[in-house]
């Protein structure tokens, strides 16, 4: 096999992996960011403390994902980011707002804290909606028609709901007492929203994209694909049943909502990957047309193979160090 054939496949896989890790990891802290609007002052401290040690590293997965697009598929990076210019800029404004608010809120004057909290919440929501919007634009091949924009906002809404779901799952796992109970209620609401979003998106996508319609509903693809929606439905049912029964004695299973939501993310990503492979820009460019020269890809792959296990290792170490429940010491 030619290196120019399989290297782009490896890199698109790595990019997908980074984006998936980004969605799960930064997804939970963006979700927590949006949920603080529903919490009181004491709960906010705990919620924000629960993501404090992690959010910097979580956002790095986005830099890696976009970085792989930039370095492995430079032509596609230019086309996609120019087509998504405005939503990208808005997402970045959102990420900047929330990132700085996170650090300013704890260091600025107490009377400004409320304002930074609002900035944190709004920034998280703006970034989430913009990310969903961009995904929507990507799916329909970049169209700013009225339907295209409506569809993209629909995905923006679904992504928000999905992030709030995984954010609630994180809080159920990492907190206890009253906040945990509230997080369970938030999760149930977000689960419905996510469900509505996924169903609507799954119906609208094949209607708006003939390519995807063809891919999904032709034989034998339809048989190979069927497990994805079926398993997603199974996860939704399991989640609904589980959330009704939480919290359990001794906090059993509190990690499960987070894990189930991550499972849904994996399934959605598989669905997307299947729908688009091997296109890197839908309808315009395949991964092979957009890839960098093999010699540049080899150099990066060498680094990835060497460093990625280390990154995963110390990410795991960092989560271990901060394992267990988060508590607000001031009230103890």
């Amino acid at each position: 096999m030619e290196a120019s054939f399989y290297l782009p496949i490896i890199f698109v896989g790595l990019m997908g992996l980074s984006m998936l890790l980004y969605a799960v990891l930064d997804g939970f802290d963006l979700g927590v960011g949006m949920l603080i609007s529903r919490a009181d002052a004491a709960e906010r401290e705990t919620m924000i403390a629960s993501i404090g040690p992690f959010w910097d590293a979580n956002e790095t997965w986005l830099v890696l994902g976009i970085g792989i697009l930039l370095i492995a598929f430079p032509l596609a990076h230019g086309i996609i980011l120019q087509a998504l210019y405005l939503p990208v800029m808005i997402m970045l404004l959102g990420l900047i707002m929330r990132g700085v608010a996170f650090d300013f809120r704890a260091k600025a004057r107490a009377e400004h804290k409320e304002r930074w909290d609002r900035t944190f919440c709004i920034g998280s929501a703006v970034a989430s909606i913009a990310q969903g919007f961009m995904l929507g634009q990507f799916i329909i091949g970049f169209s700013y028609s009225a339907i295209g924009i409506a569809f993209s906002f629909l995905i923006g809404f679904s992504v928000c709901m999905g992030y709030m779901l995984i954010g609630s799952g994180w809080l159920i796992w990492k907190t206890e007492g009253n906040l945990q109970l509230r997080a369970i209620r938030w999760a149930r609401r977000a689960l419905r929203g996510t469900g509505v979003g996924i169903v609507a998106v799954s119906m609208a996508t094949p209607i708006l994209s003939p390519d995807i319609f063809h891919k999904w509903f032709s034989f034998p693809n339809i048989i190979g694909l069927a497990p994805i929606p079926l398993m997603t439905v199974a996860l939704f049912v399991a989640m609904e049943v589980l959330l009704k029964r939480l919290p359990r004695k001794d906090d059993h299973w509190s990690w499960l909502p987070f894990a189930l939501t991550a499972g849904m993310y994996v399934l959605c990503f598989n669905g997307l990957a299947f729908s688009f492979f091997p296109m890197i820009v839908p309808g315009q460019m395949t991964i092979w047309q957009g890839a960098s020269a093999p010699e540049a890809l080899w150099v990066i792959l060498f680094g990835v193979i060497l460093v990625l296990p280390m990154i995963l290792g110390y990410t795991y170490f960092s989560y271990r160090v901060f394992s267990g429940k988060v508590r607000d010491l001031r009230y103890d």
Partner: protein, 453 residues
């Protein structure tokens, strides 16, 4: 203002200017934090831990600003300069990739432990985390400076069908200007943080916060500055000679030297006039530029007239003089401060005031220096390989203008907030001995993580 090229340049310049402020602080501060921590480990003197806990908060704030503005950069390569990656992606891609892989994750992951982990890990692991964060910030600088230097002095590649292909990675990474630029930038970062630490400590002393912790930090800042500034002047000179060799047009513009000649005067101040191709109101030292650049009073230096393409003169001329001027001021202040500390063991009131005023002087020099070198590369994006105009986006100017306005407002708010919060943290720290335990910053002490069992 309807030209996407000029708007894209302003937007990118605004972002990268705002971004560089924070890595400049974190690169230097991370090593100083390690120094504080090691001093504490060695002496077990609480004042060093006091220094650490105060400055680690400023580190966290600066790091957050660096991260979010850095994410912006990774997108703007594509949104503003799609031609850059299309042409030199095979060179730039791996360098950026290695920065993310080897440095970003390292810093970001261990930052959590460094900030919030004191109760959760052993002292040695915490020291190690501090070291890894410091190492990560410098490693990140290494890769990004390698790429930036390559854009000034490209080497180790060949052009095939209009695209750069690497022939030697060693030559790409260690291109002719890279060692000079890296050293110059790391020293600049050290000086920036030395003056920030000295400035904020002087501010606290002036407010009557005369405690061992503040004195130790002041001493660290002043001695560090006094040590680094002569090395920096030497390194800057070497970098200038390197530029003369590889980018002579940049030097001609920096010195506002219009016509090729020998015995070139050093223009200290003046107003470069591009209409008359001369300098108005010039204050000159005869033969000075020849002496500095060729080490010979009558040495010939190429003037702007020797170059068909050259960068604009006035911005370079002034930016360079601002950088050098701040550097000279740093030399005077840090040596005077060191002298007073050495002779009397304390710094006199008027100088404390001056040091406070210079808290952020490093930023001024760093930005002026970067403007000198980056504008000095124009009209090229990659010297001799790719013109800036050929790499620009096709996004309509109106959209670039709209987002530019949004960013400028946001950055103005953030820079004001940042400086105010740094001084506010200093005032809070002044308010008595309570500060150690109350510690309401970050989530570090407010919230501890308690094991389930």
């Amino acid at each position: 203002m309807d030209d996407p090229l000029i708007l894209s340049r302003i937007q990118f310049a605004a972002n990268i200017t705002f971004h560089i402020l924070f890595p400049t602080i974190t690169i230097g501060l991370a090593w100083v934090l390690l120094f504080f921590k090691l001093r504490y480990n060695a002496t077990r003197d609480a004042k060093w831990m006091g220094c650490y806990t105060f400055w680690v908060k400023i580190f966290a704030l600066s790091f957050a600003l660096g991260v979010v503005t850095g994410i912006t950069m990774s997108f703007q390569f594509g949104t503003n300069w799609p031609g850059f990656m299309n042409t030199v992606g095979n060179v730039a891609g791996p360098l950026l990739g290695y920065e993310v892989l080897t440095a970003f994750f390292l810093e970001a992951s261990f930052l959590g432990i460094m900030l919030f982990g004191t109760q959760r890990v052993s002292n040695n692991i915490h020291t190690l985390a501090t070291f890894l964060v410091a190492f990560g910030t410098s490693l990140s600088a290494f890769w990004i400076i390698a790429l930036n230097s390559w854009m000034h002095t490209p080497a180790g590649f060949e052009m095939i069908d209009g695209k750069a292909h690497v022939t030697s990675w060693l030559e790409v990474i260690f291109n002719p200007s890279m060692p000079y630029r890296l050293v110059h930038m790391l020293l600049a970062s050290g000086l920036t943080i030395a003056f920030l630490i000295a400035g904020i400590s002087a501010y606290r002393l002036r407010r009557g916060n005369d405690v061992p912790e503040v004195r130790a930090a002041l001493k660290t800042g002043i001695y560090l500055a006094a040590l680094l500034i002569p090395i920096q002047i030497f390194a800057g000179d070497a970098h200038g000679l390197n530029t003369l060799e590889h980018q002579p047009a940049k030097i001609a513009a920096m010195e506002a030297h219009w016509e090729t000649s020998g015995n070139v005067p050093l223009v200290l101040l003046g107003l470069p006039n591009k209409e008359t191709k001369s300098n108005d109101f010039a204050l000159e030292i005869p033969g000075g530029a020849s002496l500095l650049l060729t080490h010979n009073v009558s040495g010939e230096i190429k003037g702007i007239d020797a170059f068909a393409e050259h960068p604009p003169v006035a911005p370079l001329f002034f930016a360079f003089r601002i950088m050098v001027g701040v550097g000279m001021l740093m030399l005077c202040v840090s040596w005077l401060g060191s002298l007073q500390l050495w002779r009397k063991g304390r710094v006199a009131k008027p100088l404390l005031w001056g040091i406070t005023a210079m808290s952020f002087s490093g930023w001024v020099a760093v930005v002026a220096g970067w403007y000198t070198t980056e504008i000095g590369r124009q009209p090229y994006l990659v010297q001799g390989v790719l013109k800036t105009a050929d790499a620009v986006t096709t996004v309509p100017a109106s959209m670039v203008g709209l987002t530019l306005a949004g960013y400028l407002i946001l950055y103005a708010v953030l820079i004001v907030a940042y400086i105010k919060v740094v001084f506010y943290l200093a005032r809070m720290a002044c308010d008595g001995g309570k500060r150690m335990d109350e510690d309401k910053f970050s989530s570090s002490a407010v919230v501890d993580v308690v094991e389930k069992q």
